[in-house]
Symmetry: C2
Subunit: 206 residues, 2 copies
DNA sequence: CGTCGAATTGATGTCATTCAACTACAGTGG
DNA sequence: CCACTGTAGTTGAATGACATCAATTCGACG
């Protein structure tokens, strides 16, 4: 854990700053006002950033690496709610906004570099406040769109259809995570996914 | 369809105005600046407010009645994404924000009174702009929270557990919609739900 | 009373899970 | 370098949950 102020973290900061500048429309030379005191961490694979029951007090931005957000049910089974690769935001919006204990765990599944942001970032009151808020608005709207599509898939599609959809939308993630995590994301067992893949391969070969 | 300006619509407007005043913190005497030109409609049961393929250009607020938002899959089966009773907002955030064709249908399943809002409402630039935007922010965050919980349930819970959860969270809606719609919301067949209910009744009786 | 959609019920089928065995492979320590 | 270990992935057989299909029943409404 460190504050981003050393020379060797410069490239890291640039990455997040660039992202923010491009997406909010705030000129690069004004971005540092927002980001000069931002907390960044190198997170090693397997580290938990949030546990069920804790109150999530940050918004995270993944500069490098890959995180998963998941629940553990009463039988001890994990269910992956979301993956977060590079340039993705994530947070437990419910816990963050309403200050409730979170239902979720967050774990780094690769060595990662993560920016930790206070929720006030999106409402800091400066001259570029509107640009930041608009961008947050866009993030939230997009998130809702994704979640609704996922619900629709879970309601209407078979395991095979959900898998094909996943591969289509997240080809990169698909190559980076073990199969059992994909199964968990899709709501099926690892065995089930293995069979789905076998059938698909059999069909494509003939 | 009418603009809300007649005496007989006064109570209707008051309802929405009160809601907005209470939830945004904007004083009642300033609310009319926002709402004096708002479009309200009486929608009769069965009317579609949005069809798949259309671009959703409004945010809706349900003053009275009950709406459902649903998809129709390739087999012609309906899948209910959400119910919207009194004092609920709804919109296809994806279609609205990104100006894409919607995946969803919206139908009034009771005679309803609905407020039609331009998306600019939440960014009109007036003196209370911040209050309105903050409230919209809260709505979006809450929406995300609900959707994530639903996904978690769909991933981890049995039909029976999902049903019990639905009854617990939406006891009112449960009494107002036919059983097959609840089944559709839960992702099971009407027959399946019927059997779940029978088993629950059998258990509670003994 | 007759009609139509909603709900129930039974018989059967299908998809995905469970459990167990087995393979493949990476990491560890002797 | 090789056995030892643990995790991921695959496969088979049995099971279970829920769907499908068809036949009734129930209940609201003209």
């Amino acid at each position: 854990m460190y504050l981003n102020c050393g020379a060797n973290q410069l490239t890291m900061e640039e990455s997040f700053e660039k992202y923010l500048s491009i997406n909010t429309g705030i000129p690069e030379n004004e971005i540092h006002v927002l980001t000069h005191q931002i907390l960044k961490k190198d997170i090693s694979k397997g580290t938990l950033l949030l546990r069920e029951g804790e109150i999530c007090s940050k918004i995270f931005f993944v500069e490098k690496g890959l995180l998963r957000i998941y629940t553990i049910d009463s039988n001890g089974k994990e269910h992956i709610i979301q993956f977060s690769p590079e340039n993705w935001w994530f947070s437990d919006r419910g816990s963050l906004y309403f200050e409730e204990p979170s239902d979720y765990f967050v774990e780094a599944i690769e060595d990662s570099r993560v920016v930790f942001l206070e929720k006030e970032l999106f409402d800091f009151g400066g001259p570029n406040n509107d640009l930041i808020r608009s961008f947050n608005d866009k993030l939230l709207n997009n998130h809702i769109r994704q979640l609704q599509k996922r619900i629709n898939l879970l309601l209407s599609a078979t395991a095979e259809q959900r898998y094909l959809n996943f591969v289509k939308i997240y080809p990169d993630i698909m190559l980076r995570v073990p199969q059992w995590m994909i199964a968990s994301y899709l709501g099926i067992t690892p065995e089930g996914l293995s069979r789905v893949r076998r059938e698909l391969a059999r069909h494509n070969r003939s």
